[in-house]
């Protein structure tokens, strides 16, 4: 099958093809899922290098489980988000106490001349604020508001109830708002109102 023709093939079908030795499916899955896995890991860990390691490890676990994958039972992306969540939790627990100080401060003295720069600083401020949240709140908020997952999907990923997801995201957003309160003016927040 030509590589381009794989664009419309669902993840789980590609995984079955991969398990059967299909080289095109291997490349399609790598191109499709690695950026997603890396993006999520980077938001949880706030460390580009560690995020790459987690992304590689999560994808390796996917390759290993491929022969036993049962089509239609679970979404591949849900499974991957769960693996990344757990891998990141393990890493954060190992280096707990160091992370917050290691989060880079957005440069306060940079001129906020353009909207692009303001957006970049907002993103950095958000990342810094996310790092202050408890792990589960951070995971729920990132999955809901950055990755675009639904509450039932997040419930599957984090293996909790939908009500617990709603509670986590609500508390997480409240904490984020508090963490960002002091930065709203300098990040041009009023312009958006």
């Amino acid at each position: 099958m030509p590589f381009d023709a794989m664009n419309d093939v669902p993840d789980d079908a590609l995984l079955v093809l991969y398990a059967n030795g299909d080289a095109d499916a291997t490349r399609a899955l790598t191109m499709r899922l690695t950026p997603m896995v890396l993006g999520y890991a980077a938001r949880l860990l706030n460390d580009a290098s560690e995020a790459e390691d987690v992304a590689q490890e999560a994808m390796l676990r996917l390759w290993k489980i491929a022969p036993d994958w049962r089509q239609g039972e679970a979404k591949v992306t849900t499974w991957l988000y769960r693996v990344v969540s757990n891998l990141c939790t393990d890493r954060l627990r190992k280096k707990r106490g160091v992370a917050l100080e290691a989060v880079p401060e957005p440069a306060d003295d940079r001129p906020s001349a353009s909207e692009t720069m303001i957006e970049a600083e907002r993103a950095a401020a958000l990342q810094q604020a996310l790092a202050t949240l408890p792990e589960r709140q951070r995971q729920a908020v990132v999955l809901r508001h950055i990755e675009g997952a639904t509450n039932p999907e997040i419930a599957q990923i984090l293996e909790i109830s939908v009500e617990a997801v709603e509670s986590l995201t609500a508390r997480g957003k409240r904490a984020l708002a508090a963490a960002l309160a002091g930065r709203r003016a300098e990040l041009g927040y009023q312009d958006d109102k």
């Binding site: 991969y18 398990a19 059967n20 030795g21 080289a23 291997t26 490349r27 899955l29 790598t30 191109m31 690695t34 950026p35 890396l38 993006g39 980077a42 938001r43 580009a48 995020a51 790459e52 992304a55 590689q56 994808m59 390796l60 390759w63 290993k64 491929a66 022969p67 957006e119 970049a120 907002r122 993103a123 950095a124 401020a125 958000l126 990342q127 604020a129 508001h145 950055i146 675009g148 957003k173 409240r174 984020l176 708002a177 960002l180 709203r184 927040y189 958006d192």
Partner: protein
């Protein structure tokens, strides 16, 4: 994704956060692909070796258990041929060595004349 009710005023931050994506480096993509291919080799079982012609024939006749039976039967046959046991000689004499009696059996005695007459 923007909430209809942005009660905490976070949507602009989330919008900015979604645009600030860490893109995978070429090195990471190469590592992931190498892992995939290595694991694929390990996952796909090697095809079983095809048996040769002799092995196929050997299997077709039943393998060693059948061969053992055939050899035993052959040896017993040879032994009986060389040194037949006494009861067998008696049976042989009765079947083959008896006087040459012959019997003529008329299967249709009653209709013989009918055939001749037509």
């Amino acid at each position: 994704m923007t909430n209809k009710h942005d009660e905490f005023g976070l949507d602009t931050y989330f919008d900015a956060g979604r645009k600030a994506v860490q893109t995978p480096s070429g090195d990471l993509m190469a590592r992931v692909l190498a892992d995939a291919e290595a694991q694929q080799m390990a996952n796909v079982p090697a095809p079983a070796a095809q048996p040769g012609l002799f092995a196929s024939l050997w299997a077709a006749i039943g393998g060693w258990p059948t061969a053992a039976g055939m050899v035993t039967a052959t040896l017993v046959g040879i032994w009986i041929g060389i040194s037949p046991p006494a009861p067998l000689e008696q049976i042989t004499a009765e079947v083959l060595g008896s006087t040459d009696d012959a019997y003529l059996v008329d299967l249709l005695p009653a209709f013989g004349d009918d055939f001749v007459e037509g």
